[in-house]
């Protein structure tokens, strides 16, 4: 086994890309079983993965991808498309590969048992051509790259297809090995060099460490005779020097990379973050220089500063754009997920993807996946009905699930819409009362909006209890929490009508449910209102600010010691930016202003502050983990003078203000 860790990051990145391609190919094959191009893609991906995994010494992945490659080589040549169960087998292979790649990525071992999948793959091909099922084993020996290549040596991968007429594959393979040994050392192959006498297959693969030219090896191989085809390739091993320097070790065009890769460079995500951080600092320094230049009278300085500003702005825009990726990369995992889940639940679903090319900051795209998976699962599990139920409700048997993304101002809106049964307020109320979240009077008055909000209440749902009742609800509080952590918000809207009849038991009709995620375009910078409290700076996200009020112009009221701000007939809780529920012991004496902000679910709170410093564009920084949730801070930001401002988490503050002791029970009072 080679010193893997040097190459592991690039292996993982490439493997994930290939697996995504494989997922896409499966979706396409399912849509059109005769799609030759998609079958070719399966073959190509399997081949690439095998090569990569072989150089890394991941034997099980090699064994599985080798079988995939073999079987699809056969299948793609047949007329009439792929066998019907090919999709299932491929999906199982993809799952297994994804799991093992992620395990490897998490620092674990390769824990894939390829045998059952290899058997299923072989069965795909068997019904048509039993002769292909000849024991072609002989084991695979993978190149052992602990043996570092000597200077001047290259690793050559040779693939020879035996001619159909070849009667004794083992002999040919042996001759081939001997011919190649003349050029260098055989590091491994399929069959393994020491197992060649048992070989009964049609294809021989060898990895050779050699000083000779790849073409010279090919010539020697062809001289062996009875070979239909010989292909050689120098394996593009990442050079240890480049890896040590932290270069993304990637050989574009090497291992059957798709053509689009040619014009792109893979960059470590952390470097992009670093680039953005440095960019943020540059902007801050520029501001300082601008301020100093305004006081100095050096000829030409203002022009120079202006040019500096222009260039740095252009640079900032470019850096921001570099980080943008289409939301498609998240959407692409859904065709399979929806297909698998629908099959398991016995439902018919048409998945529609809209706005997949909508671009988002990479950090947002990465973070979007899990909440979205949750919403889609909920929609399938609880929202959409079975074909029978749909027929009974007068709907077409196939339900529609639509995932869409679009830009809206400085935000991106991602929604998950289904045309299922919707959220039944009566059913939600029943569960809420059972769980002690609602008393009977409130339950009777619960409307659709209140019911939707209740689903986000922690403690509302446990998977077992709500499956058939709510139409929604499993882990929605977790979804809300993770979306809020991104500075976004999630809401549910359900169009639900229960026909009023004498019998009262007619099926409810529903337009379905839409879950809407509203997220910032980027997590990296925000426009904020800078304020101070106790001489410490706080940044309030500008898109949350409704208005500012001078506190000497209003009479602050108090209920049970908690200050309330009367504003336009409304009483808003007046709270502290620092997360405490009420202004500190010093009272409100030094608080000159209140900033009214929008928080989750249309609520508003007023934040008492000492001064308003103005609007700033701030690059946000992650806070250390040891910062308490009670701090009411979503992030930090470094100001030009080097001091740190806390970015106020309006939703968390609202929770603290509304509920005092326990922010978790917010939903219950809806």
């Amino acid at each position: 086994m080679i010193e893997q860790h040097e190459y592991l990051p690039s292996f993982l990145a490439e493997a994930r890309e290939h697996l995504q391609d494989l997922g896409l190919a499966i979706v396409r094959i399912e849509a059109a079983p005769g799609d030759r191009c998609a079958a070719d893609n399966v073959f190509r991906v399997a081949h690439s993965l095998k090569g990569m995994s072989a150089t890394m010494g991941f034997d099980a992945i090699v064994a599985l991808t080798h079988a995939m490659e073999d079987v699809f080589e056969l299948l793609r040549q047949r007329a009439g498309g792929l066998p019907p169960d090919a999709i299932d087998v491929l999906s199982a292979c993809l799952d297994a590969l994804e799991t093992t790649v992620e395990e490897i990525g998490a620092g674990g071992d390769e824990r894939l048992d390829p045998a059952p999948l290899v058997e299923r793959l072989r069965r795909l091909a068997r019904d048509r051509s039993p002769e292909q099922e000849l024991a072609r084993d002989g084991g695979a020996a993978l190149p052992d790259l602990t043996r570092a290549l000597a200077p001047g040596e290259t690793l050559v991968h040779l693939v020879a297809e035996l001619a159909d007429a070849c009667q004794m594959p083992a002999v040919r393979a042996f001759m081939l090995h001997e011919a190649l040994r003349a050029h260098g050392e055989l590091l491994g192959g399929v069959p393994a060099p020491d197992m060649v006498e048992r070989f009964a297959g049609r294809r021989v693969e060898v990895w050779v460490a050699t000083r000779a030219d790849a073409s010279a090896l090919a010539d020697s191989a062809r001289a062996v005779g009875e070979l239909a085809d010989v292909r050689v390739r120098e394996e593009a091993l990442p050079s240890p020097a480049a890896a040590a320097a932290g270069e993304p070790a990637h050989a574009p065009g090497g291992r059957g990379a798709p053509p689009r890769a040619a014009a792109t460079v893979r960059v470590d995500a952390e470097r992009l973050d670093e680039l953005l951080h440095l960019m943020g600092e540059l902007v801050q320094h520029r501001t300082t220089v601008e301020a100093l230049a305004a006081e100095a009278s050096v000829p030409g300085l203002p022009q120079a500063v202006q040019r500096l500003a222009r260039t740095s702005q252009a640079l900032q825009e470019t850096v921001t754009r570099v980080r943008m990726v289409p939301v498609e990369s998240v959407f692409l995992r859904f065709p399979r997920l929806v297909r698998d889940l629908a099959a398991r639940l016995g439902k018919q679903v048409e998945l529609r993807l809209e706005g997949a090319d909508t671009e988002l900051d990479r950090t947002v795209v990465d973070a979007l996946g899990d909440p979205l998976v949750h919403l889609v699962r909920n929609a399938l599990d609880h929202g959409l009905e079975t074909p029978d139920e749909r027929a009974a409700a007068g709907k077409p048997p196939t339900g529609v699930l639509e995932l869409s993304a679009r830009h809206a101002g400085g935000h991106v809106v991602v929604s998950v819409r289904d045309d299922g049964r919707g959220i039944d307020p009566a059913a939600v109320a029943r569960v809420a009362v059972e769980r002690g979240l609602l008393d009977a009077d409130d339950a009777a008055a619960l409307d659709a909006a209140g019911a939707a909000e209740l689903l986000f209440a922690p403690g509302f749902s446990t998977a077992a209890a709500t499956t058939d009742v709510s139409g929604r609800g499993v882990g929605m509080d977790a979804v809300r929490e993770s979306v809020r952590a991104l500075g976004g918000e999630v809401s549910l809207v359900s169009e639900f009508r229960r026909p009023v009849t004498a019998s009262g038991d007619l099926p409810a009709t529903s337009q379905g449910t839409t879950a809407t995620l509203r997220l910032p375009l980027t997590l990296a910078s925000i426009a904020a209102l800078l304020v101070t409290v106790d001489e410490l700076p706080y940044a309030i996200p500008l898109d949350r600010v409704v208005r500012t009020v001078r506190l000497d112009a209003v009479e602050v009221r108090s209920v049970r010691g908690a200050p309330l701000l009367p504003l336009g007939g409304e009483l808003l809780p007046l709270c502290e930016v620092a997360g405490r529920r009420t202004p500190s012991d010093a009272g409100l004496a030094d608080r000159a202003f209140a900033v009214v902000v929008n928080a989750a679910s249309g609520r508003r709170v007023a934040l008492a502050v000492a001064s308003l410093e103005g609007q700033r564009e701030l690059v946000t920084r992650r806070l250390p983990r040891s910062v308490s949730h009670r701090a009411g801070a979503a992030a930090g930001a470094v100001l030009p003078d080097g001091s740190v401002a806390l970015v106020v988490d309006c939703d968390a503050l609202c929770d603290i203000a509304r509920c005092g002791r326990n922010p978790g029970q917010e939903g219950a009072s809806a």
Partner: protein, 130 residues
Amino acid sequence: MPAVDQVVVCALGGEEYGLPVGQVREIVRYSAPRPVASDVPWMRGVVSLRGRLVPVHDLAARLGVTAAGGASAKLVIVEGDEPVGLVVDDVVEVLSLDQAQVEPVPSGSGRIARVGERLVLLLDGDELGT
């Protein structure tokens, strides 16, 4: 017992503490951290270290000594799950220690190095980073 090699010796409350060189990322002049609520009793806030927000831990409070404070105070940034800044009165020197100089603390856990008349309590940055 892991081999002791070189340690960064810090002065704190009239005593000396040693941190393995390999765990010290850098040493910067102390600047007052930005206070922020935390569940960690000795966390005093955050500072910006080249754009990254690093928690500042009051090492004296954690060890139960009284820091001298003053202009020579330093922030020792140690590696851990995430970097943490430890407040010390000063950084004295980097010492190379022989295994023979190291012995267990007579009363209690940990290890101590005798360097002539000096006593240097050896700290583990990994533990302190949490």
